[in-house]
């Protein structure tokens, strides 16, 4: 195992906890807005680490461009849909959760 493979595998492994925390946040957090917050961590950082790790190990330029395009598309999709959901929730007058009630 070369040093490059080691770094790449480390980056991929580093991305997994972000996905797990996204799922746990989706299950545990109290309302829509906080769940959106947990969701975007998995989308951006978790997939970013996995893509970074695969880019480090990849051999061809075409694959690098494809991986970057995948990450970019997921970023755009998550930003758009999270903005739409939060905007619609505010229009429907759903109150954000606060600690004291």
């Amino acid at each position: 195992m070369t040093i490059v493979e080691l770094i790449g595998t480390g980056c991929v492994v580093l991305g997994i906890p972000f996905f797990l925390s996204g799922t746990i946040g989706l299950l545990r957090l109290p309302d829509i807005y906080t769940r959106l917050h947990a969701l975007t961590k998995a989308d951006n950082v978790g997939l970013g680490f996995i893509v970074l790790g695969l880019i480090i190990q990849s051999s061809s330029w075409l694959e690098v461009i494809k991986l970057l395009l995948i990450w970019f598309l997921v970023l755009m999709a998550s930003a758009t849909s999270c903005h739409l959901v939060a905007d619609a929730a505010l229009r429907k007058k759903i109150k954000p959760w606060t600690r004291e009630k």
């Binding site: 991929v12 996905f19 829509i32 997939l47 999709a77 229009r91």
Partner: protein
């Protein structure tokens, strides 16, 4: 075949299966839809890991299509099913 990457994909699949509880339980419609969106992203990650694990580069194209269509169902949900039509002026009026 690289077993290590397949086991990472298995972990992500288990987390997807845990997230299904939010779809079953989620109080509002948006919670269910957000869980489905998280599944889309997790699916992209699982496909990338499987592509590396099975040495099949064409699976990355599948991940590309997944990423391309990830926002489609959420946008359809927000614009069609959850709210009424949203006019460009920002006022909401319901369909029919």
């Amino acid at each position: 075949m690289n077993t290590f990457y397949v086991s990472l994909a298995l972990i992500l699949l288990l987390s997807v299966a845990a997230g299904l509880l939010r779809i079953l339980r989620g109080p509002t419609a948006a919670d269910r839809m957000m869980a489905a969106q998280l599944f889309g992203t997790c699916g992209v990650a699982i496909l990338l890991l499987l592509a590396r694990g099975f040495d099949a580069l064409i699976v990355e194209d599948v991940a590309l299509v997944f990423a391309l269509l990830a926002a489609l169902s959420t946008v359809a949900f927000v614009r069609r099913a959850w709210t009424g039509k949203i006019t460009p002026k920002g006022r909401r009026h319901d369909h029919r």
